[in-house]
């Protein structure tokens, strides 16, 4: 942690001068790889950077997009049955926004839509197969269910400014975070428009025994299955022998 602070201060000292010359926005992450190990219980990644001149900073974290199915229950003959469904072509597996000010005060709807900043501005293509609920209802349900799992942010998080130039925010990733290559987008907004943007990849990957088990289970499924059975049988037999007396 101390190293992070030193790093942060070093960047703070160097960036303003460099940024003035090249880019009005510079940002980086405290790490570019989140390793999911056996003891993984979620993690925080520090995002820090500096801006040149006035403006607001918005950070968007996106996980790899995946197709989803949302199903709706309805009462039929007294019991609740899945009666309708909607197919979402590609929804980000993870989505979080942080900002120095509320989004509505920073930029107009059209700009937020164009850059897909904020849950209301996500471009989700939803195909419903249900006469009982419309696309908007399914969209809300998808967002609500993802929020419940901690994969979509409940609200726009705060980014702290230091001396009007430096900013930092903690990006939280819960224990059930999907693996893949994430994109951390940092926007600098001035007068309601994006003046500068920077995208940094963040890799979330399984490392160590957990990763080995996962790979083995998928690549050598038959052997994995047999080992699972053998382990289970051996454990059962051992316990029976141990408890004989």
């Amino acid at each position: 942690m101390r190293m992070l602070v030193v790093l942060f201060l070093a960047v703070a000292a160097v960036i303003p001068a460099a940024a003035r010359a090249a880019d009005p926005l510079v940002a980086d992450l405290s790490k570019h790889l989140v390793a999911i190990t056996t003891g993984f219980a979620g993690t925080d990644v520090l995002l820090f950077g500096a801006v040149d001149g006035e403006g607001e900073v918005v950070v968007v974290v996106r996980g790899p997009s995946k197709p989803e199915i949302v199903r709706r229950k309805d009462r039929q003959a007294g019991i609740w049955i899945n009666s309708g469904s909607a197919q979402v072509e590609a929804a980000p597996s993870f989505y979080r926004v942080a900002s120095t000010r509320p989004l509505a005060e920073i930029a107009p709807q059209a700009v937020l839509d164009r850059h897909q900043i904020g849950l209301d501005h996500l471009d989700l293509s939803i195909e419903t197969h249900d006469s009982g609920a419309d696309t908007a209802t399914y969209r809300d349900a998808l967002v609500r269910l993802k929020q419940k799992k901690g994969l979509y942010g409940e609200k726009v998080e705060r980014i702290g400014f230091m001396s009007h130039r430096l900013f930092r925010t903690e990006l939280h990733f819960p224990a059930n975070v999907p693996v893949g290559t994430y994109l951390v987008e940092v926007y600098l907004m001035q007068d309601g428009d994006v003046v500068s943007a920077q995208t940094t990849p963040l890799v979330i990957s399984k490392i160590g025994i957990g990763a080995d088990v996962f790979d083995f289970a998928h690549q050598q499924a038959a052997a994995y299955g047999l080992i699972a059975i053998a382990l289970a049988a051996a454990a059962g037999w051992l316990a029976a022998v141990a408890f004989k007396k």
Partner: protein, 309 residues
């Protein structure tokens, strides 16, 4: 203490899983049921994906059944011939059941069918057991008072007229092989769909349908469950990649210990008392699942992975 499950792709509390394994393992040893009918719903309730719960639970039942059967084996309470015929049927049934499970999943109705199966079968089995065992408790009390006279081992019905008769010495039976074979298939299908060993259906079916003596029922049921759940573990691991070995090891660590304690306890309790107790638990799970089906859910929508399956 949290541990990350590589296949379920989430982290869980180690002691919670150990305790869950121990509690369900205890029942497994006590009643001769795999415990899956309690464990699978509990795992899903904890947030483990249903497919992983079902696949992993199969591996865990293998362990607790091996552990449980050895105690019965030493006392000579396993009818191997009967067990092997049941297993042959079970293999056929579990292959069919896994195919049915896959089809239901693609239709988005697998949760409903699982819940309905639970309510129907737990309701029938639990209800019958409860009524019968209460009656026999009352009867044995009266018999003890009057001295009692020797009765028939079991009633003879049309079932005893079926062909391919086989003698089962351990079970003191001379019945058609079609009966245990058919029972094996039926339980195999249900086991694959419901993510259970099927003991809670097998045990009463052996007692009431086949007429086996209670003493060999538990051991023989565990014996056949080992092979049928080993088969479904293999199927889940190779076709769905849903067996989480870390979760299975944690569950069976608690489970095997619990099963041993349960098996010791079962010797001390009378058959009728055991059955009343099991019937009460089975009915409780049935009522809970039935209420969940009827009462208005807090969330009408559910999320299922798109694309595959």
């Amino acid at each position: 203490m949290q541990i990350y499950l590589p296949i379920a792709e989430m982290s869980v509390n180690v002691f919670l899983i150990l305790g869950l394994g121990g509690g369900v393992g205890f029942m497994s040893g006590l009643f001769g049921v795999g415990g899956g009918f309690l464990m699978t719903p509990l795992l899903i309730f904890l947030g483990i994906p249903p497919a992983v719960s079902v696949g992993t639970e199969a591996a865990q039942i293998v362990a607790s059944s091996v552990s449980g059967v050895l105690a019965h084996w030493r006392r000579g309470n396993v009818d191997i011939k009967m067990g092997l015929i049941l297993t042959a049927g079970g293999f056929v049934g579990s292959f069919g059941g896994v195919e049915l499970f896959k089809w239901l999943r693609s239709q988005g109705q697998v949760d409903l069918v699982i819940a309905l199966c639970y309510v129907v079968f737990l309701g029938i089995v639990g209800g019958l057991m409860f009524v019968e065992s209460v009656q026999s408790l009352v009867k044995s009390k009266r018999a003890a008072e009057s001295g009692g006279d020797r009765k028939k081992l079991h009633q003879h019905t049309w079932i005893h007229g079926l062909p391919f008769k086989v003698r089962f010495r351990r079970s003191k039976l001379y019945i058609s092989a079609i009966l245990p074979l058919g029972l094996g298939v039926l339980v195999g299908v249900l086991a694959a769909i419901m993510g259970v060993g099927g003991g809670f259906i097998m045990v009463p079916a052996m007692i009431y349908l086949l007429g086996m003596p209670t003493s060999v029922v538990v051991g023989t049921s565990l014996f056949q469950i080992i092979f049928v759940t080993a088969n479904s573990t293999f199927l889940h691991a190779t076709r769905n990649f849903t067996v989480d070995i870390v979760l299975a090891l944690l569950l069976l660590l608690g489970g095997v210990v619990g099963a041993q304690v349960g098996a010791k306890m079962s010797v001390r309790l009378k058959g009728e008392q055991l059955r009343v107790l099991l019937a009460a638990i089975v009915l409780a799970v049935c009522v809970k699942l039935g209420v969940d089906l009827i009462s208005t859910p807090a969330e009408m929508f559910t999320l299922g992975a798109g694309g595959k399956h």
